[in-house]
């Protein structure tokens, strides 16, 4: 099938491809010398480099702007499935200089959602961020590969680029994508990261935790990292109009309901720490909250400022 001489040239060319992946300028200089050393070397390298690009064919890496309400960024991560399912062909052209690098004039802008609102932001590189209600997210047109989550919750479907990983900043924490769909939530000093697809790296310079699909971490400010596996989808449930709670405090339940229902929900101090587990289908506030109260064994009432959970005794008064 392959001429014998090509074998050696291919092996050498693959070696160069591997070396140049994270190559320094000196590696490229040495590579130039190798190219010049035999007339067939360039052809071998090109064969290998083009084959390497074929691996991207499923991902459609060209940055085609999508409508802001396009809620189907699934295709971006399709190349994930590559090994199993050959699907979706589109030209794969990697132009590393097409996207402005970091350090271009900063042009930050904020995405702020009202409680209950849900918005999809599509970035220039095709990455999509589904922003939950009550969220404040800072993006930068000049630094398209980073986002700062000030508060709230967002689901990131990012177009992976090993040369320029997508970074989510939460306070002093950093979440670095490695080809990924993941959710980051930040409320009352509590950080949650859950990976639905692919993997991310948490605080590469510090804890350097690799989280893969299904993993999630929970961390109170300055506290230990609580890691669990297998419930990543739970965190992204709100996208599908459902909230899953596993051993969550009622304080936490109220905060999440508040953001997702778009109405203030609070909880009496004496039951705020009570634990709650269950799945809540989001609907109109009154029946949704009634259902939560029912499951939690508490009462709920609407006063002038919003909804509030009470102990059942008080609520019955």
């Amino acid at each position: 099938m392959r001429p014998d001489g090509d074998n050696d040239a291919d092996t050498a060319a693959i070696g160069w491809l591997l070396r140049l992946r994270d190559g320094a300028a000196a590696d490229w200089e040495a590579f130039t010398v190798w190219l010049e050393s035999a007339p067939d070397n360039n052809a071998a390298y090109e064969r290998v480099a083009l084959a390497d690009q074929d691996v991207d064919l499923g991902s459609d890496r060209r940055a085609t702007p999508t409508a802001a309400n396009d809620d189907d960024p699934q295709r971006l991560t399709r190349w994930w499935l590559l090994a199993g399912l050959g699907v979706a062909a589109a030209a794969a052209i990697t132009i590393i200089i097409a996207a402005p690098g970091p350090g271009v004039r900063p042009a930050p802008y904020e995405v702020v959602t009202a409680p209950g609102e849900k918005r999809v932001v599509t970035l220039n590189d095709g990455s999509a961020i589904t922003v939950s209600g009550g969220t404040q997210l800072v993006l930068d047109r000049a630094a398209g590969r980073r986002a700062e989550l000030r508060r709230g919750e967002a689901l990131f479907k990012v177009r992976h680029d090993p040369a320029s990983p997508f970074v989510v900043i939460v306070g002093t924490d950093k979440i670095v994508d490695l080809g990924t769909v993941f959710t980051v939530a930040h409320e009352s000093g509590n950080l949650r990261v859950a990976v639905t697809e692919g993997s991310v790296r948490y605080n590469p310079e510090a804890e350097n935790l690799l989280l893969i699909a299904g993993d999630s971490i929970n961390r109170a400010q300055g506290g230990p990292i609580i890691r669990s596996s297998g419930d990543a989808d739970a965190l992204a449930e709100w996208r599908r109009g459902r909230l899953d709670f596993a051993d969550a405090s009622l304080r936490n339940v109220a905060a999440r309901l508040s953001r997702n229902l778009g109405t203030p929900v609070s909880v009496d101090a004496d039951i705020a720490g009570q634990s709650f587990s269950g799945t809540i289908v989001l609907g109109k506030p009154a029946p949704t909250l009634a259902r939560v109260a029912d499951l939690a064994g508490v009462a709920v009432r609407h006063d002038g400022n919003g909804w509030r959970f009470y102990t059942r005794d008080l609520g019955a008064n």
């Binding site: 099938m1 392959r2 090509d6 092996t11 693959i14 070696g15 491809l17 591997l18 140049l20 992946r21 994270d22 190559g23 320094a24 300028a25 490229w28 190219l35 007339p39 067939d40 360039n42 052809a43 090109e46 064969r47 290998v48 480099a49 083009l50 084959a51 390497d52 690009q53 074929d54 691996v55 064919l57 190349w79 994930w80 590559l82 090994a83 199993g84 399912l85 050959g86 699907v87 979706a88 062909a89 589109a90 030209a91 794969a92 052209i93 590393i96 200089i97 097409a98 402005p100 690098g101 970091p102 350090g103 271009v104 992976h160 040369a163 990983p165 490695l178 080809g179 692919g198 690799l210």
Partner: protein, 188 residues
């Protein structure tokens, strides 16, 4: 070029880039043009935030050649199918891929997927980490508890399979220069 440092860096690296582009199969004039293209595309960018700006420029130049080669193949495949000539170096990438291009890409993707599916599990896992997750080889070696050279061997094997898949397709598609996709400078 709005940033002075970028401009200086670029000018300093220009001869080396032209030499590199020539080694990558571009003629002298084409290499000059390509460097000019690169220069225009980088206009307004500040490279000082990039870890190794010189390596970045080399990579950008390399991608430029690959893009031209790829779009050149497309044109040739679609229009003329000249057997003996290599890809022309033209200015444009097809704005819209043709149906034929998409079909060819689909074939390629299927071929690559098949090639990867045929790899031993360990090799496929290492390739996936390296190529899809972007994990450095050193890290893969640490995670899996094997040596760096073992990682490289697995990657060699995976890439050889992918290259073979492409080579077989090129024969099918009657790609210019068959399996050898070199530049015009080596068209004997």
């Amino acid at each position: 070029m709005s940033d002075e440092n970028t401009q200086q860096l670029f000018l300093a690296l220009r001869p080396a880039l032209i030499r590199f582009l020539a080694a990558r199969g571009l003629g002298a004039d084409e290499a000059q043009d390509a460097v000019q293209d690169l220069f225009l595309k980088l206009d307004g960018m500040r490279l000082d935030a990039i870890a190794d700006p010189r390596a970045y420029l080399y990579r950008a130049a390399d991608n430029l050649v690959l893009d031209r080669r790829r779009s050149g193949f497309r044109r040739l495949n679609r229009e003329t199918r000249w057997g003996g000539l290599a890809a022309p170096i033209g200015p444009g990438i097809d704005p819209q891929p043709s149906i034929e291009t998409l079909l060819i890409d689909r074939e390629r993707l299927t071929a690559v997927a098949d090639a990867l599916a045929g790899l031993p599990e360990r090799t496929a896992e290492i390739f996936r980490r390296f190529r899809l997750l972007g994990e450095p080889q050193r890290e893969i070696a640490q995670t899996l508890g094997i040596s760096l050279s073992a990682v490289e061997k697995h990657l060699q094997r995976a890439y050889a399979a992918v290259v073979d898949a492409r080579r077989r397709l090129d024969v099918d598609f009657g790609s210019p220069r068959g399996h050898s996709s070199g530049g015009e400078s080596d068209a004997a």
